[in-house]
């Protein structure tokens, strides 16, 4: 098992940023009571995954992956393609989530989770 040293942590600072974003997104999801804010948290959480894929795809000194005799090293295009798809999925999810929040607001008159549960209990 490789040991974790401080230098290796700094060398992989990009992963630290990814993990930080991931955890903040999850925290907002768990701690928030406002439904729109929760969706923001969900978005941040998903965005961190985009970073997780994109970063290792970049090769230092590599160019865009278009074959040209002047270059020998290229960045890996596959993660970019995958994440383009994931971004589309993320946008669709966010749009649907926000549409649901609008409908919830129309039906309940609030988007605070606590108040909504209270209104359903009164019923």
């Amino acid at each position: 098992m490789p040991t974790v040293s401080l230098t290796s942590l700094f060398e992989h600072y990009n992963y630290l940023i990814t993990i930080f974003l991931m955890m903040s997104g999850l925290y907002i999801l768990v701690a928030g009571g406002n439904m729109a804010k929760k969706l923001v948290g969900l978005s941040i959480f998903q965005t961190s995954v985009y970073l997780l894929y994109i970063e290792p795809g970049k090769i230092l000194g590599g160019t865009a992956p278009i074959i040209d005799p002047a270059f020998a090293t290229y960045s890996n295009p596959l993660p970019h393609v995958l994440i383009l798809t994931a971004i589309v999925v993320g946008v669709a999810t966010l749009a649907l989530g926000l549409a649901l929040v609008v409908r919830i607001n129309e039906a309940y008159g609030t988007i605070e989770e606590e108040e909504i549960f209270e209104r359903d209990r009164e019923q």
């Binding site: 098992m1 490789p2 991931m22 999850l26 999801l29 439904m35 929760k38 969900l42 959480f45 998903q46 995954v49 997780l52 894929y53 290792p56 596959l78 993660p79 995958l82 798809t85 994931a86 999925v89 669709a92 999810t93 649907l96 989530g97 649901l100 929040v101 409908r103 919830i104 039906a107 309940y108 909504i116 359903d120």
Partner: protein
């Protein structure tokens, strides 16, 4: 016909996808229904043809656009996913006639076409997850089916449907994102997204750095477990199933969770299991423990529910526990039992939720207190409910008995005597919650809500009767369920390292 024959794997997904597009343009509820019905039947025929190809000629590998895997996306059909494809599409085809009146009753007419559009999109996603051999492609299909599911749930008649849909969206997206994180970690350590290719490269990745592989396994397990509602990640399921339109509940309970279970089996047995030695990780113990918890706790909650659909939803969580128990046992009889229960539970739950839908259509309520004597007014509906209910308990002569028998044998083969008693014990709790409904429905005098009810039209009764007959039939003739499941289990266990 000859030109189409080799392209069945892609047609399985493309036909419902274009059907969904067309249904969205049609706008007229009746026309969209006719389209959805036609598509469901074509898709089922296609699935049978694929299964026939697999049984006669072995696994099929379809290369998308002619690109060889692992570069291109591969659709791969073997005996396991052929089996699940048939299950999903047949459930869709059989239950579809029920949808017309039920959807027209529960959803405003101008939204009817959208409902069928979403149904077909969901079918596309589910079939896609099952057929694809590419891990990222599976994620895209997972999201296609999930997003359309959220919309279907939100179309439910009660305002709480919106809330349940939102909660499911949050949980479902977390699950799907966990899955992508897991795939990303595997991609980082193996450089491939093709499942078969992953299986061959993970072994090396495991020896280089086992922690990455364990983290990936953990993320994928939790992500898929959220989608399949493995206890204690089932919190989204009861509300979603309770407030969704009746037809959507019946369809989803029979297919959506089952497809997620398939994906878990695929990863455990064909990807991770083929590459690393599972005995060194405590996975089977965790799965078995959670399954037992689901079997008991969820069943116990079901006993005290006042709403018929919610009770059935909790029962679903419990029954999923039996299926995952089979996965955890990981021996021939146990895995066969899990796979058979995948099919049998789909048939039984579809019957039960369709019956609940028929009751809602006629009596406008599914609260148990209002259902006194409903059996005397809706005898055919409740007879189907009763048969499927006996199936849930695992009475001999129904399909449910076959699955529990195999599970018990699997537990004995592993030397887990206690587990056999636990399987029987949890079935006794099922006796309590099913029996409570049967007592209310058959023994009591009809109340005000039940008084004016009667059996619904033939288009709603026929799916119910067919499914109830299937529950009995597969309790006697097990060649097409346990027979094929046995072969699939053998195939999966042979791939294990």
């Amino acid at each position: 016909m000859k030109a189409v024959w080799p392209h069945l794997p892609i047609l399985q997904v493309i036909i419902p996808l274009f059907g969904a597009l067309l249904a969205g343009f049609l706008r007229r509820s009746g026309v969209a229904f006719a389209l959805a019905l036609a598509v469901s039947w074509i898709v089922a025929a296609n699935a049978f043809a694929l299964m026939w190809q697999v049984l006669s000629g072995g696994p099929i590998s379809y290369h998308m656009g002619g690109w060889e895997p692992p570069v291109g996306i591969e659709y791969r059909v073997d005996i396991l996913n052929g089996f699940v494809l048939v299950l999903v599409s047949v459930v869709g085809a059989v239950t579809m006639p029920f949808a017309r009146r039920s959807v027209a009753f529960e959803i405003e007419d101008d939204r009817g076409a959208w409902f069928y559009c979403m149904y077909l999109l969901c079918l596309t996603g589910l079939l896609g997850i099952v057929i694809t051999g590419d891990a990222f492609n599976a994620f895209v299909f997972l999201e296609i089916s999930s997003l359309s599911t959220y919309v279907m749930i939100a179309l439910g008649p009660d305002r709480r449907a919106l809330l349940s849909s939102y909660q499911y969206l949050i949980m479902g997206t977390i699950g799907a994102t966990f899955y992508v994180i897991g795939i990303g970690l595997i991609y980082l350590s193996t450089g491939t997204l093709n499942m078969a290719d992953m299986a061959s490269r993970l072994g090396t990745a495991w020896t280089v750095d086992a922690r990455v592989v364990i983290a990936a396994l953990a993320f994928i397990t939790v992500g898929i477990s959220l989608k399949l509602a493995l206890f204690p990640l089932h919190a989204w399921l009861p509300n979603a199933y309770t407030y969704a339109p009746s037809f959507a509940t019946a369809f989803l309970s029979a297919t959506a969770t089952k497809v997620a279970i398939y994906l878990l089996i695929r990863y455990y047995y064909s990807v991770f299991g083929a590459a690393i030695d599972f005995a060194s990780l405590p996975i089977t113990e965790i799965i078995i423990a959670l399954s037992i918890a689901a079997m008991f706790i969820a069943s116990f909650i079901a006993v005290f529910e006042k709403d018929l659909k919610r009770m059935l939803a909790y029962s679903s969580v419990a029954q999923i526990g039996y299926i995952t128990l089979g996965i955890g046992l990981a021996n021939q009889a146990g895995l066969t039992g899990g796979l058979v229960h995948l099919v049998n539970h789909a048939l039984m739950k579809a019957t039960l939720f369709l019956a609940a839908g028929a009751i809602f259509y006629r009596a406008q309520t599914v609260q148990l207190k209002d259902l006194a004597g409903i059996g005397r007014k809706m005898p055919v509906t409740m007879a189907a409910f009763t048969i499927a209910g006996f199936g849930l308990i695992g009475t001999p002569g129904t399909a449910g008995f076959i699955s529990k028998w195999y599970l018990a044998v699997g537990a004995l083969d592993k030397g887990l005597w206690l587990l056999v008693f636990l399987i029987v014990g949890s079935s006794l709790i099922a006796v309590a919650y099913v029996g409570r409904v049967l007592e209310i429905a058959w023994m009591r005098e009809p109340g005000p809500a039940a008084a004016s009810a009667s059996d619904p039209q033939l288009s709603m009764l026929l799916p119910l009767v067919i499914l109830a007959c299937a529950v009995v039939y597969f309790g006697f003739d097990t060649e097409w369920t346990a027979g094929i499941a046995g072969k699939a289990a053998q195939y999966l266990l042979a791939g294990l390292r």
